[in-house]
Symmetry: C2
Subunit: 138 residues, 2 copies
DNA sequence: TTACCTGCAAAGAGTTTGCAGGTAG
DNA sequence: CTACCTGCAAACTCTTTGCAGGTAA
């Protein structure tokens, strides 16, 4: 279970000191097979379940913002008051379940090829994000 | 220039009283050929340019939320601290210019057909929103 | 007159920041 | 020892709400 050395290495190689708090956040985010979608509040709740030491919101925000800058996390576009993050940083799309307020990955096989036929002079495409909102069908 | 009666009718038929403030907001939003994309702050600034009477932020928020509920405006998904609105309420997609922080409509001809091959039991698709982020190419 | 609307100020929610004490290297 | 990090509280931004005075019907 102690993959700690991997995370310590990951942090150190990014110029971030491997503190107790950051290692716990790393384990929660990256020590898993599936993609993890979360808000800061989700993350704070989850951390409280796996450790008795309290990690302050300020530290969580700082760490998540650092991870985002290093490219370890991706911010997802949703019109919500909260910011959603994704541990899957590859190009992919999402379902957003409006009842559960929850994101679900769509991989390349789930979506037909998207063709953008318009271009603007002096501008280039940085990313293409598809958000498919779903809700209970009854 | 006085299309006021059209807006008065529009408001009244939606159960909204045609006040001075709402008529001015209507004229700014709907008395134009092109789509208008804005944040509440953009709108407040624009209003200050066309009238000396101050319209308070509370009134602007109330009015815009009412218009959204009536289906006269659409909220656009962007990961931003601000909420973006669009006077084009039809199904369509957007460019988001990261330099200008500005939305640009993509109409159906600009985007190839989008096929969603995945479905979830008990859930149905409510909307499909494509956001293409662009930036200066230099 | 009655129900609704406006504007102000205060309250909320999410996020960021300043700073004193603590920890990694 | 020094630079960086944490936690607290305060500050900030965007948005909503309570309420007193104003306006439409």
């Amino acid at each position: 279970m102690s993959n700690n050395h991997i995370f310590i290495e990951k942090l150190r190689s990014s110029g971030l000191r491997p503190t107790k708090q950051r290692i716990k956040i790393c384990k929660l985010l990256f020590d898993r097979k599936d993609t993890f979608h979360f808000t800061i509040n989700d993350l704070s709740d989850s951390l409280r379940k796996i450790t008795l030491d309290k990690i302050s919101l300020a530290t969580i925000y700082n760490t998540i913002n650092a991870f985002k800058e290093k490219g370890y996390l991706k911010e997802i576009s949703i019109n919500s008051n909260k910011t959603y993050f994704d541990t899957n940083v590859s190009n992919h799309h999402h379902f957003f379940d409006e009842n559960k307020k929850e994101l679900i990955d769509l991989n390349d096989n789930d979506v037909g090829k998207i063709k953008i036929k318009k271009s603007l002079p002096g501008k280039k495409i940085k990313s293409i994000e598809l958000l498919v909102k779903i809700a209970n069908s009854n």
